[in-house]
Symmetry: C2
DNA sequence: TAGTGGTCTAGACCACTAA
DNA sequence: TAGTGGTCTAGACCACTAA
């Protein structure tokens, strides 16, 4: 029935911005209950096809969009799901007082201690992604005690620190000399970066650049 | 109530793979109806936190993931939403019989006509993204008649050709000489590519590489 | 402030699928 | 094949917000 409603809606010729009948009317017209229409319309709203507002009614989205869902797993799980052997190496670890670019990310106005971590994740002993991370030690003091040569910060945080907000960015960078060396590639190689910054309420947790190996692709399907 | 259920579930200490009580039991325990539990749990499943199976019950997802929703608007809308002035230039247009790399994308085994299009989209008269597209003329014969110097294929297809399946890829490339020239940058610059291939049922519609300008970032928030 | 959509109930029946 | 989750109903009440 839900699919029936959706296909009836979708096969009518509506134009961007058009107003749809209210749920109650659609229910009667289509011979089903209001709850069913509500669910069907909620799905369409989730898919970005219509916009719903109390009192305002339901309208076809004025600007059509492609809405995709991206699943970003733990690096270890991603490697293992592809049938690879996962390994991990801590490259560098250092406590520092907020550097300016980190303060900017979190809009901090007083200095705090951050743990800076550089680590390399391997798939079948080949470099897979380079993790460059800053962890807020005021929010996550337990991090001081974690042995990062054994457990990756990636994994420890996922299991121990829930977040309430996460900003994600995807962009391309040119490998600098050091990064290129890690990946056994030439400096200047184009690399996809997955950049994530998380908070719990308003307290900063971590910001991380996951620099992927040359040729890495992020995939999804709709 | 839904939020109440979710927070109660989320604040309990469950481990990956743990089985949750069935909806009926949770409903009684939490003093609400089964429908409400169903909705709350469905939300958690959509968010990738739990997995539900008929007869199998509900389990905490064994491999935690970050699930993000990406909205990819029309290029024109994206530029205008940022307050920019949009413009567009068709660079090249040519009909060709399926080249091998396109046949591979769509798993085609017989030759067909495709329309190859190169176009540049501008924001405030600065190059914004370069569109490199192949349209299947067997599935979309109307495309032969469209004046692509006026309407971009991007926009025409969104408004005229619904798709049933869409594969998305994100990756980084180094600008070749020609691409670099379009963006007034140096060859080898790292560029983010949004790559989309769409079908209607099993018939190919189009495959497009949207090559973004240097420094472009794809953003989302959870 | 009246008109929408959002949430919830209590119950029926169905559709999968693990055991 | 029995045990879960998924969908649907008919109705109540609530929460926004456009006009």
């Amino acid at each position: 029935m839900r699919d029936e409603i959706q296909s009836r809606i979708l096969t009518r010729t509506y134009f961007p911005g058009d107003k749809l009948p209210k749920d109650e009317e659609l229910a009667e017209e289509l011979g089903c209950s209001r709850s069913t229409v509500q669910r069907a319309m909620q799905d369409l709203a989730d898919a970005g096809l219509v916009e719903r507002r109390r009192k305002g009614g339901t309208r076809v989205r004025p600007n059509p969009i492609t809405r995709a869902t991206l699943d970003i797993p733990l690096i270890r799980h991603e490697v293992e799901a592809r049938g690879g052997t996962y390994s991990y190496q801590l490259l560098h670890q250092e406590t520092k007082t907020t550097p300016p670019h980190i303060a900017a990310r979190f809009s901090l106005n007083h200095p705090q201690d951050f743990l800076h971590i550089e680590a390399l994740h391997y798939s079948d002993h080949q470099p897979y992604v380079l993790e460059s991370r800053w962890v807020c030690l005021e929010t996550v003091p337990e991090m001081r005690e974690v042995d990062l040569s054994k457990t990756s910060a990636n994994e420890w945080l996922v299991q121990n620190k829930p977040y309430s907000r996460c900003d994600l960015k995807f962009y391309a960078i040119e490998a600098n000399t050091l990064t290129a060396a890690h990946f056994n590639t030439a400096p200047g190689a184009a690399l996809l970066v997955i950049d994530r910054t998380t908070w719990i309420d308003t307290a900063p947790i971590t910001t991380v650049q996951v620099i992927t190996k040359p040729g890495y692709q992020l995939l999804t399907q709709i």
